[in-house]
Amino acid sequence: MSIRNDFPILARKVNGQSLVYLDNAATTQKPQVVITAMSHFYQNSNANVHRGVHTLAGEATEAYEACRSELKKWFNAERVIITSGTTESINLVAHAWARANLVAGDAVILTEMEHHSDIVPWQLLAQDIGIELRFISLNDDLTLDMDAFEASLDGAKLVACVHTSNVLGIRNPVEQIIKISHENGVKVLLDSAQAVPHEKIDFTALGADFLACSAHKMCGPTGIGCLLVKEDSFSQMQPFMGGGDMIQTVTTNGSTFQENEHKFEAGTPRIAEGVGWAAALKWLGKIDLQSEHLRLIRIARWTANQLKSISGMTVFGRHDDGDSAVVSFIHDSIHSEDMARLLDARGIAIRTGHHCAQPLMKILGVEGTMRVSFYLYNNQEEAELFIETIRGIVERFS
């Protein structure tokens, strides 16, 4: 109960009904402490960061850089580049690392369950510099084909792989992927957007070379995320977005650049968002994520089993303990969009569509799915209400 009380939005009504928010894989709700921290910053300390000598500039810089310190502690990472989110973080690897270190014919390994944000940047780079893209196929149970993965590594320079699928909830064996890749001299970039809300990641112990994530999937604000980078890869990165804040000196003949993460953070950063993210991390730090995750995956598994028992319903994914609490499904006669609108009429928010994973949709043989995703403030009662409502809809409209 106490976790729910921290989220003011959960008190609102939608179409006259109590809100049941099951769209957490798209974005999570924000606890009051995050909202307060951002308002407090704008009310008391708003100024641009770095270089300013007045009091507000000092306070703003300290508050913003505290976000980086919190992130370094949270992820046990030495280098944290603050970006606009997972998408920008992956694009940053493509532009700042891959463009500078890969040549025509080098291969980048992707999987068939990638989000578009981990496909399109590589396709654009392939058009530009002629790298080869290889997609690892899936087994019948929709897990990654690890034999195909191992076989694909010859000539590869980077594996860019989703940590936890946003559609299926399946957590890939990233430890094994990193180990095998490194044995073959291949670097690893993890798209951990869906993993960070559900597991506390120790970036140094995990050993990945790059890790991309977003604040808004873990109770932080939208518009901010980060790229964690191992030191040796960091030293191989070249600046790609030029502007203020990332330089040491600028003359009409040329420029020199900052040595630290600022080198990749041109322009005024998302200051209030940084303040909000730091507050979210402190709030999350008080929660036992591991036991909460087990509670949520049990709710997701129960939901998946209930859905499977409804006539005409197909459920995707396996919902193992390590997977995220996401359930994707379709109904054979009620269109996903219709179902989502009918659920919304009862205050239940779910997502529909291709979830920015069209190659995976093709494998599933569908154009899109419905998806429910649970987070810290959700409970079994909400799952039961969702199932009861969807049973009623199927009975009435199919």
Binding site: H335, D344, R346, T352, F397
Partner: protein, 136 residues
């Protein structure tokens, strides 16, 4: 805002219903109003782009008035097509061009008309007006 009388009648019908799910049910019932476009006439050209569901619309002029044929795999989209058919079928070019899409907000069946991936209604409406504009 004043609407053509047949649209006002639909708005009034929705206004009497308080329950959101019932409103959606009524919306789906309007799918019967659509002069259905057979699937063999579904082309890339008459596809409503940006709609989560598959939707096709064809606009024709018969004896100086406008008529639409349409189809969708989502019942609610087809319902919206039905309501559009009520507004458009038998109307003159000028009458169709005078329409604005806000009546669906007034009916309480769509939350927004922002053109986006998730709202093909606006695209469908714009597509109809563009086709009619070309018939001018």
């Amino acid at each position: 805002m004043t609407w053509p009388s047949d649209i006002q009648e639909v708005i009034d019908e929705f206004a009497e219903i308080e329950d959101a799910m019932e409103r959606l049910e009524i919306l789906m019932d309007f799918s019967d109003e659509v002069d259905e476009l057979p699937s063999d006439e579904w082309t890339e050209q008459n596809l409503v782009k940006g709609c989560q569901s598959r939707a096709h619309v064809v606009i024709e002029q018969r004896d100086g008035t406008i008529w639409m044929r349409a189809a969708s795999d989502a019942k609610m989209v087809q319902g919206l097509m039905g309501i559009l058919s009520i507004a458009v079928n038998g109307a003159t070019v000028e009458e169709v061009l005078e329409l604005t899409p806000d009546f669906v907000i007034e009916m309480g069946v769509l939350n927004t008309l922002t053109p986006s991936r998730s709202n093909g209604f606006r695209t469908m409406f714009d597509m109809i007006q563009k086709a009619v504009m070309e018939m001018r």
